[in-house]
Symmetry: D3
Subunit: 283 residues, 6 copies
């Protein structure tokens, strides 16, 4: 939760509320007494197995819409949920609970979706040396939350963005002229705090990369057999990352091919939202 705590979450939530509430929640203003208090209950409307994520946001969202809400998170971050479980209860100004409902649920349904998908991939490779890592294929503006959800689901984070990792891709190799040139330029230019990772599409490229000092290699769309060969070439000190069109069906074989990291775009680019609902009672 550490990294997440340091982004300006409130700014993100304020923008989300500005988008949804705009000039005001007309329906609630019309129908709910502004002084009334209420209790909201958030329920997971899914069969067992969902990984819940994002509960800590409830306090912050409702603090922006309801005066001094009291939040009780019943399901912990990363916990697997029983069918129909109540995830949290919030006491507060009734009108504010209703106004904040959709922003809160939109974020939790996304984050729980990411965590749940990640867990499935993590479980699929249990016992291997590989880690599941995310990609930069996230929803613009929501990357910190989605990468946090990957961690909650048991995965690991790849670089946050273009400034926190060196990853030489095919296009960079073409621009630099060769694997050798690209690697040398990167080692010269980039701060020494970074490893230098390079994408390879063939075993010949893997050999060239190793010859010129790559310390991490991304194996793009290789078969498990090719990956095994890459491992043999690379020895144990060089990190190998598998990437490209990996699914729950194919991932076990890939992990068993001996890679260190398997990056899966679908964790964040094609999320199935978890179905959450909020019911409020006047108290």
């Amino acid at each position: 939760m550490e990294l997440l705590r340091q982004i300006d979450l409130d700014e993100l939530l304020r923008r989300a509320l500005a988008e949804d509430v705009g000039q005001g929640d007309i329906t609630t203003a019309a129908t709910v007494d502004s002084a009334a208090r209420g209790r909201a209950r958030i329920t997971v409307k899914e069969p067992a197995g969902i990984v819940f994520c994002g509960g800590f946001l409830l306090e912050r969202v409702f603090a922006l819409t309801s005066s001094e809400p009291a939040v009780r998170t019943i399901i912990s971050e990363g916990e697997r949920v029983e069918a129909g479980a109540v995830a949290a209860e919030i006491d507060g100004r009734l009108a504010g609970l209703l106004t904040g409902e959709r922003v809160a649920l939109n974020l939790l349904q996304l984050m729980s979706g990411v965590a749940t998908a990640t867990r499935r991939y993590v479980d699929a490779i249990a016992g291997t040396r590989a880690r599941i890592v995310d990609t930069r294929k996230t929803h613009p503006g929501l990357r910190a939350l989605e990468k946090y959800a990957v961690r909650i689901g048991g995965g690991f984070n790849h670089r946050f963005g273009l400034d926190s990792g060196v990853l030489i891709k095919e296009n960079h190799i073409a621009a630099a002229g060769s694997v050798k040139n690209a690697l040398e330029r990167a080692r010269r230019y980039a701060p020494h705090t970074f490893r230098v990772e390079i994408e390879c599409e063939t075993l010949a490229q893997v050999e060239e990369a190793i010859a010129h000092g790559a310390t991490s290699i991304l194996l793009d769309n290789m078969t498990p057999a090719e990956m095994r060969n890459a491992r043999a070439l690379a020895g144990d000190a060089i990190l190998l990352e598998a990437s490209g069109g990996i699914t729950l069906d194919s991932i076990r074989a890939i992990a068993e091919a001996g890679v260190d990291l398997i990056s899966v775009g679908a964790l964040t680019h094609s999320v199935r939202a978890v179905d959450l609902s909020m019911r409020v009672e006047v108290v």
Copy 2:
């Protein structure tokens, strides 16, 4: 495209680039000559049938990363794409093309995903009186783009947010004490430019809503048979909206039950990203 043109798209794109690029694209800075020019080609890596959406963003994204890019959109907004089609070509400063790639693709893969899903629902109810409409279950910060994609896919937009529609839900009815009270309060309070829509879970509620002047009724989780009865009660002047757990399998029967609107959360909350790739060549 009209509504979309009026939001501050550049602000959204700048924030998206700030998130992804941060302090700078280290890899590109290291490996690509800053003066080099290049041509990027965006390809749809999917079987036929995808609805392309978001092409107009390319010019704006790359204008922020590459000096005076020239964009040729080959696939039009809303066009169904052949397998492997090239969607667009962009000429510009090579480094800038690489730096903007991911933000551009992240947005287009999402918007094309929304448009494609919408089209499937729209096709499924062809010939009926019903319209497909979206919901507020969108990704925070991206609602304007997602609602635009729904229109490109042939759907219609429900209210943008809480300030552009009156929709009295179960929780509001409970807070106001009765359907009657809620409707009266809403009609008195809300600007006269709004219709007043109310959610009903039973036919008895539908009758009560009609009796107290509702002009739109959301039928929550009703069966097609119940919806037919609701139509009989409501006559033709009152708008009926079907909502709740609607899938591609169930939607035709619902549309044939005579509702005016069918709202589908999955259009935007559980989007499968369209697979796009960008390849760059030095020119």
Copy 3:
């Protein structure tokens, strides 16, 4: 007060203080000990009859300039004020009270001015079916406060802005080609949560509008006699709004002509500020 509570008031106040205080209140910094405490008293320097509005802002303005101010609002929101009445007392850090004075008074003198003018119009049509509504002729940046003051004065709000109502004006009719075209396009395009209102300058246009499904009609610069005829044509279910150059002298006759709404730009575009003063004593 509900809608108002949801805009970012503090942001508006911070900008107002930035404008007035800039790099700092030099005079106060020079002449007032920074630790001194004081009591400020805000007085209405007007004859009886003023409607006071905006008192809730005092706490928020002075919270931004003075540490933990204690505000006692003596005159309630919307109360008619006796001559020379003390409206509020604020205890706090003396320097901060002086620094925040002008921003606080500038807002309250405007809002009380709007509320007072609105009350006069509301009183003038007492006993008729008509409501006083505001327009979009407000001071840029201050619309939410001005529309709130209209409600406090007993008026009602028209749409907040261009995104919260459909109002087809003469220019739109010309662009669409005809009343019929404009109405059909609006009904097809706009979310179903909106009524469709159209501006008519003649009774012939009123008839055409009714024939093509308008549910609200703005009668532009019509005489009371014409308005009566419009009502006869429209029956009771269609909302009629009178607009255009309406004054306190002419408004009663208009209200008695049977319209539902009378919109008055002068409520907000030509406000006479209420004269307020603040005196501070060291405590």
Copy 4:
């Protein structure tokens, strides 16, 4: 126009448009073809004598809503307008002209109102040594525009805000203990680039202020006779400013009493908007 040019006008206009347009101009999007071009004509619907102000804003407002508008300002900044005059014509994308109309007019009606009122006061004291100056009683967020309009009307600006002038008021004197203390503290503390002005309510205070080095004196609510005496005490080198409840009826006598400056809050706090209208034709 110099000072004005340096504030971030575009930021102000963007906020004004965000307030008015919100998520989009639904009516225009529905009824106007997005590619259509149009010509807008802005007319002053008032008898002769209005001082026009703000024309330079048209280009900037419509640049934000319409692609490459061509603006012809027919009435110059500060020109007195004939009855019914056309002030400006704008060619551009028709939809954008309609969307920007209200923000443009709201600003011009305010600024022309301020300039017109200022001109009346300036004319009333023609031939005397006095200048009309404004106050800080402005609409929060719009001060730069209002102070600019005062200059266009022939008036002069008092300090912009609390950081651009030292003006010791009654409350500061009380806090500092005496006129002497307040003046000494101000001269010690404030940057030497400022004159030190002090408010006096009696001639005795004027004498004390002069004795302790005041170089400008604000005469608060004095009669013309008292002002004459103040001038006699002060000699010619000390600036005298008359302030407090000054009207068009009383101002000539005040100017003739020999003050240098007359500050008038009503120039900006109680503005009567100038009636402007915009008609658009399709071209």
Copy 5:
């Protein structure tokens, strides 16, 4: 501290943290338990004589990174520090203390550097009539803090920026055509709350400036002898400011030449940072 209190310090600190922390403090997140508490001690690693400045920032910086930090400032604002002194202790969430360390120290080392340098110049002219004043040669974005540090060091502030003082420089004189023209234009245009200061490079210019009503004169790069002559010409009522390449070696003679103000760019443009360190212990 008054003026400083009124700028938006938190905004500045938030931006500083955003710059340094970015997406998160990876090292701390990895190595420090998020719940651990700690005590930080800030030490001045310099010989005696440093003037400490900026201690009040510690509470605000760490409030943004650590939950409810308790700050004990041991060295007061402006106090001269013994060698190796502990300046402050902060108890708080350990991870947050580490994350905020660099931003806090970067600001304090700068401000203490400014205050220390200022004190040296102030001491050097003790007993003369002259004041040390700063210039606009500050680090963009940090001017308010640097000008505050000048005051803490015993200096005075010149104008904050271009809007809080009239200072006619050589370039302005050239543009206006003559000293006379420049002075007349400035007196006519500028709000009466400002004195008018003019830069003179020769005694002839000084005479011309006096003849046309200058009330402050900046003596640019003059010798002490020339300054004495300028004083003789100006008499006592006109403020004289010495400026241009003044060092600790030359300043005493300048002060003794009878000027009122000596402006020193080096106070802020060439600051030697004070060496501060922070050590944390787990508690």
Copy 6:
């Protein structure tokens, strides 16, 4: 220049101008005709040897204050300057040139100061394997510019901030319990794109760090002799960084001790501004 190009420079410049110009440049507005054109010449008032840096900013600063300025940069980025050289000429609106002068010079005098200092350190270690690197001891808000100036001076950048490098310091080791724990936690937690660097104060710590997989080691305040021993322990594959109180006098011996990197805080925390002046002529 690549990394720099991607931050929002204009935003930084706008804030810098807002700080310096505030509500407007009163002196220039008063004395310079707003239509007048001028030519500005920026001169380096220093003996030979200065490294010029920041010239590319001139176009952007003056674009914000003067309409369409034409900038001719005469001295290139990183070029050593002859005594009294003209660095650049700018043609533009005269008033805008004067208004932007100070912000432009403040940035260039800082950046040239950083580049000049860096060059001296780089020259001092010529012929060794070591690189000069910067630190995070920068002026808050200006880090990107300062780190760019370090590169222009021939140095290299360390991590930009806490999110772009793992550097385990003494405080982290204490919190984690041991070098071993800290290294293991960092390798597990941090994205694999980062190397793991650790600060060591003794050779014993160096040994422990190597034993547990550190790939970079910061040698804190070690003597050259200790550094030689550290190199012997580390072999050639582990990066060694010298840090702590390094001066121009001591640096050569350090570089010759065989470290890879020498980090110098004084490059950015104690910058002597380069003396630049701008003269303008009317054209």
